[in-house]
């Protein structure tokens, strides 16, 4: 039986893992390669590296991180943040990433999804999507709108329609982040996740809001997520991957045993 995946997200800035902390901005919390190794040994199923650097120098540092991770970690991992061109995708994949995630670049230019899928195969292309709850309107039937720039810019696009379109364009997976839940540690947005996951035929990763193992249980059982993204709940040592998996197993959710 296919296991539900637990994916740890590492935000990387200038070669360091960083995390937004309320009232303090971003603080560096460690070396991404060492952290990746630690989570790999704990039995994480997949990793995501999100490049939050804006500069060209930062991009090169990121590719170097990807390359070093790929030399010692033998599970799939994806890279996102600032990927705009086929060349950007090629560099990340060649350095050892399994998949690449496109977010705002796909909003501005949806063809990047189909181009990427044609070049590298659908399994390499993840659509990253930030969605925010809005009143239902003529243009936003689902009540969730696609947003970019960390939620500051509304795109006028319906989240459900965008998910279906991305699938048609050749995305192999959707990483769905709720801007409302993100950073709250109050749990995933179950209504949004369930709606998208049940409406597309490709896997959906739930993101935003994870604070406890119960939140993962709920998003798997009540929202049919295929995978769950977590960050601060493990970065700050409150929970471990084996602890979360043991809890999920107790709730009869199929997870991967590390043997």
């Amino acid at each position: 039986m296919l296991s539900k995946r637990i994916i740890v997200c590492l935000d990387v800035r200038d070669g360091k893992t960083t995390k937004g902390v309320r009232f303090q901005g971003n603080v560096d919390i460690g070396d991404p390669v060492a952290m990746a190794r630690e989570y790999y040994e704990q039995g994480v199923d997949e990793l995501v590296f999100y490049d939050i650097t804006a500069s060209h120098e930062g991009r090169d540092i990121m590719i170097d991180v990807v390359d070093r991770v790929a030399r010692e970690i033998f599970i799939p991992f994806s890279v996102g943040g600032g990927i705009r061109t086929i060349d950007d995708m090629y560099r990340a994949l060649d350095a050892g990433a399994e998949k690449i995630s496109v977010n705002s670049a796909a909003v501005h230019n949806p063809d990047i999804i189909s181009l990427g899928a044609r070049h590298f195969g659908s399994q390499c292309i993840v659509l990253g999507m930030d969605a925010k709850k809005v009143p239902v309107s003529a243009s936003i039937h689902s009540g969730y709108e696609v947003v970019i720039n960390g939620g500051r810019t509304f795109t006028g696009m319906d989240a459900l329609q965008w998910a279906r379109k991305a699938q048609d364009l050749g995305a192999g997976e959707i990483c769905l982040n709720s801007i409302d839940a993100d950073g709250t540690s109050d749990g995933y947005e179950l209504e949004l996740t369930g709606m998208i996951s049940r409406s597309v035929g490709i896997p959906v990763i739930a993101s935003g809001g994870a604070g406890t193992p119960e939140h993962l249980r709920d998003v798997f059982l009540r929202a049919d997520a295929d995978a769950a993204l977590i960050a601060s709940m493990v970065h700050f040592g409150r929970y471990t991957i084996p602890g979360i998996k043991a809890f999920l197993k107790g709730a009869h959710i199929p997870v991967r045993d590390v043997v």
Binding site: S3, D45, D94, P203
Partner: protein, 204 residues
């Protein structure tokens, strides 16, 4: 030396990295002579069957792949490499290499499961095989595919995996073994399988 056959498909470098991590002597190559001379051959791949076969034929690799498989060289197919050693694929209706008799089928859309089959799944052994020696039966492997191998003969299936239907996730005949999952991305059990391959004499 292990030759990793280069036919411009994905995951070559991942396979190379896993081999290097295990201190195995390996080389990514599309030279028929190097492939012929190699002690072992890995035939990896990510992508579509039709395009892959086109490239293999244009690089004149089809004959040498059949030759080493036929001659007893320990041979490991991975993912797309596993599919195209069968006779034919429903993907692009591609005519494949015909090393092991069988078809490559698409997961039916009506099973109520997502396609691609993406993530970690178990394998259920039908028979023992040297490449699986020492692996814990609870081991899971990383899969990502929309088509699956269907060997003509049950005897060629080593292990099965369930995803909506039951399919052969590992097939083998004599010196040819092939897995639908990605051992190079499957953590410790995957690396153990590659290590077993590096010591395998090609006998089942």
């Amino acid at each position: 030396m292990i030759a990793i056959i280069d036919y411009r498909a994905g995951n070559l470098r991942s396979v190379e990295r896993a081999c290097r991590h295990l201190n195995l002597d390996c080389r990514i190559t599309s030279s028929p002579q190097e492939i012929r001379d190699a002690e072992r051959v890995i035939f990896p791949g990510v992508g579509a069957a039709g395009k892959a076969m086109e490239t293999i034929i244009s690089l004149r690799l089809d004959d040498v792949i059949r030759e080493v498989a036929d001659r007893g060289t320990p041979f490991l197919g991975i993912c797309l490499g596993t599919q195209i050693i069968l006779d034919q694929s429903r993907e692009d209706d591609a005519r494949c290499l015909g090393i092991i008799p069988g078809m490559v089928e698409r997961f039916p859309a009506t099973m109520g499961v997502k396609i691609p089959h993406m993530g970690w799944n178990t394998i259920e052994k039908r028979i023992d095989h040297p490449l699986l020696a020492g692996l814990d039966p609870r081991s899971q492997f990383y899969f990502v595919h929309s088509y699956y191998p269907k060997p003509l003969r049950e005897d060629d299936a080593v292990a099965y995996t369930f995803y909506g239907i039951r399919f052969a996730s590992m097939i083998a005949r004599d010196n040819v073994a092939a897995v639908q999952f990605h051992p190079e991305k499957s953590g410790r059990p995957g690396l153990d399988l590659i290590k077993n391959f590096s010591r395998w004499d090609g006998r089942a």
